[in-house]
């Protein structure tokens, strides 16, 4: 049943096929474009959850600052789109035409130099991944080289998320402040607000997500993935075996950051704006719960976790807004106390054995088949 095959085990191929069928066929065929766009938004969080599975589940590094990278990726995309939307013709009623509207409102008269490169689409695509990864490298190198880990790392990443939020809100003239970068219209002349564009973007997002999942799985089954688990459980032994633990940690942290950044950029494209409310402490820690609900060791679980928690959040907030925080708080406590391996753990421990038992009993009921297992003993 569980023979080693290329990249995925057999049961994981089945899981991948189910997931791909769900997000590429079933959902687009059954729900309307408004809901599909929402699903697409949820799936952008799944990128972050994937990164957290690698970083936290396997590597034991809990980052409470994934919103930083989600936000940076999203802001890079938003800056490009905003520049495209603020051509001199479109903004001729401003006192300085050709700059984004929020800059004009804040008496900024010239495009800051670090906005200039975002006129180029190629640069933007590189920056979406490179900027957050480089930032993660700086944080990771500073922390892991000095062997700071565990809760200290969690607190510091959280503090960085707080700092970045305050900075973005404070520098209103350059970042759009608390409203973020809004009113994004076209991507290379293609209107992203139409239903057709949303449909296409959903598929781009889903395919990217599956690509990231395969990449993450590749990392997981590689020797590096096994080292990550070893580091999580007995860091000293790995170090004494001659591995440079800090470099591995930096790498996995950067990879998680890159995943989050891709998610952030896709978020901006699909939702049409980016704001500091996706950067700070609260969204960052919510992203951890997506991963924990799905199962911190399961890549597939991460995707389902992100979908389920966000779906629950939307439907709760629509009908019982008061209950949502109770449910969310309860989820945090439940996944820690009762279900440390999340949905994936529940399925593996309860649903799969039950299914196996069921199929066996069905096989036993069939005449002829019943004799086979007993005679083989």
């Amino acid at each position: 049943m569980t023979s080693e095959t290329f990249l995925f085990k057999q049961r994981e191929w089945v899981a991948l096929a189910i997931l791909a069928a769900l997000i590429l066929l079933v959902l687009p065929a059954t729900v309307d474009i408004f809901r599909l766009n929402l699903v697409g938004k949820y799936l952008t969080y799944a990128f972050v959850a994937l990164g957290l599975v690698l970083c936290w589940g396997l590597g034991g590094i809990l980052s409470l600052g994934q919103g930083i990278f989600f936000g940076l990726g999203g802001y890079c995309m938003a800056m490009f789109l905003k520049l495209e939307a603020s051509t001199p013709e479109a903004t001729k009623i401003q006192s300085t035409p050709g700059i984004p509207d929020f800059m004009d409102w804040n008496q900024v008269t010239e495009l800051p130099f670090w906005w200039q490169p975002f006129h180029s689409f190629g640069f933007t695509l590189i920056a979406i991944v490179a900027v957050p990864t480089a930032f993660a490298y700086v944080i990771g190198a500073a922390m892991f080289k000095r062997r700071v880990g565990g809760v200290y790392f969690a607190i510091i990443t959280q503090a960085v998320a707080a700092i970045l939020t305050i900075l973005i809100i404070g520098q209103q003239g350059y970042t759009g402040g608390v409203n973020g970068i809004t009113d994004l219209r076209t991507l290379l002349g293609w209107d992203i607000r139409t239903d057709d564009a949303k449909f296409v973007l959903y598929f781009v997002n889903a395919v990217l997500l599956i690509g990231c999942l395969v990449l993450a799985q590749f990392v997981r089954v590689s020797k590096f993935g096994r080292l990550l688990v070893a580091m999580r459980d007995r860091e000293d032994r790995v170090r004494f075996s001659g591995y440079d633990v800090s470099n591995f940690k930096i790498f996995v942290f950067c990879l998680a950051a890159a995943f989050s950044a891709v998610g952030g950029a896709m978020f901006t494209l699909q939702v049409g704006f980016m704001s500091p409310s996706f950067v700070g402490i609260v969204p960052s820690i919510e992203m951890v719960i997506f991963c924990a609900v799905g199962g911190r060791l399961s890549l597939f679980g991460a995707v389902y976790g992100a979908l389920l928690v966000n779906f629950a959040k939307t439907s709760f907030s629509e009908s019982f807004p008061e209950l949502w925080l109770f449910a969310m708080g309860g989820l945090f406590i439940a996944v820690v106390m009762a279900f440390p391996f999340g949905l994936a753990g529940v399925i593996r421990e309860h649903v799969e054995p039950a299914l196996l038992k069921f199929t066996r009993s069905v096989a036993l009921l069939r005449p002829g088949a019943a004799a086979a297992p007993s005679s083989s003993k």
Binding site: W56, L62, L64, A142, M143, R146, R147, V148, G150, V151, Y152, A154, I155, I156, Q158, A159, V160, A162, I163, I166, L167, I169, G170, I281, V282, I285, V288, I289, A292, E322, L325, F326, M328, G329, G330, L331, F332, I333, V335, V336, M337, P340
Partner: protein, 308 residues
């Protein structure tokens, strides 16, 4: 910029700004003391610490209401009763949380962090449902209103002075308790060698519970003091939690003196910089400096030499 002011004006601005820093310092110290006990002595990350503080604040708010409604005679001194009640409420809730949640998670610090975050969300919603989403303030007795004029230009508000005195008192009491009392000695013994402490007859589980409760209780007092200088809302606790954690980590976990020193440094730096730039940039710069220093010196300013 500095040239526009005369020397006298400049010193008084500095003094006022320094005093604003001291008020911030008091809140930081009161919050961080509880956290330093819980995080420093027990290694437990309590993300719901801010909510314990807010519990104390709401208890004080209730007391202020009850005092004005039913016993106006006692109104001038209701604050002391409120503070005691705030301590008791937070202590009780703390003990309950330790029993129900924390004691199962001592070996998994990261999971404690997530679980207590969940607890903080639940508590926030409880406050919102009970007290409403609006911020509430307490009515201060007359003797706490007004200010003392030191010179023509320097005025010190009395409630700020009171909070500061309270801070000194509580910090001193906590220090005495941890350093001198039997309970403090037991706490430190459990911290340094749990197995041995158990072997000489200390009920380590009870010490854990009492320590956690005590930390939460101090947070309750902090909240009580907080109502005197600001208003309280359901999410006010979350605003302070990261700052407070940074204060404790920066000071060096496990060192009470370090906590006080770092609270002083951070609050003074922040309020001094607020004079030169916008509040948000001052905060960004202060936090960045703290994070930068922590990256260079992860163990914090003051460290205890513990054999691990």
């Amino acid at each position: 910029m500095i040239g526009d002011y005369t020397f006298g004006e400049f010193t008084s601005i500095l003094a006022m700004q320094g005093f604003a820093g001291l008020s911030l310092f008091s809140v930081f110290v009161l919050m961080a003391l509880g956290l330093a006990i819980i995080f420093g002595q027990m290694g437990v990350i309590n993300m719901a610490h801010g909510e314990f503080m807010i519990l104390g604040a709401y208890v004080t708010y209730l007391c202020s209401h009850l005092a004005t409604e039913y016993v106006p005679v006692l109104f001038p001194v209701y604050f002391f009763a409120a503070m005691t009640l705030a301590f008791c409420a937070s202590f009780g809730l703390g003990v309950l949380v330790e029993w129900g949640l924390i004691r199962h998670l001592y070996r998994r610090p990261l999971d404690t962090l997530l679980a207590t975050w969940g607890l903080s969300l639940i508590l926030q919603q409880v406050y919102r449902s009970v007290f409403g989403a609006r911020e509430v303030g307490v009515t201060l007795p007359d003797w706490m209103m007004g200010s003392v004029a030191l010179t023509d230009m320097i005025e010190i508000p009395i409630n700020g002075l009171f909070v500061m005195g309270l801070t000194v008192l509580i910090a001193f009491a906590v220090y005495l308790m941890m350093a001198r009392s039997t309970f403090g000695k037991q706490v430190r013994a459990v911290l340094q060698n749990r197995v041995m402490a158990g072997a000489v007859g200390i009920d380590t589980k009870r010490v854990d519970r009492m320590t956690f409760g005590l930390g939460c209780g101090i947070a309750g007092i902090a909240g009580s003091a907080f109502t005197m200088i600001g208003s309280t809302g359901p999410t006010a606790g979350q605003l302070y939690i990261v700052d407070t954690f940074l204060v404790v980590v920066f000071g060096g976990a496990g060192s009470l003196i370090g906590t006080i020193a770092s609270a002083f440094t951070i609050s003074q730096a922040q309020s001094a910089m607020e004079f030169f730039m916008s509040g948000s940039m001052a905060k960004v710069l202060t936090l960045l400096t703290v994070v930068g220093i922590l990256m260079l010196r992860p163990q914090g300013l003051f460290t205890l030499n513990i054999r691990r």
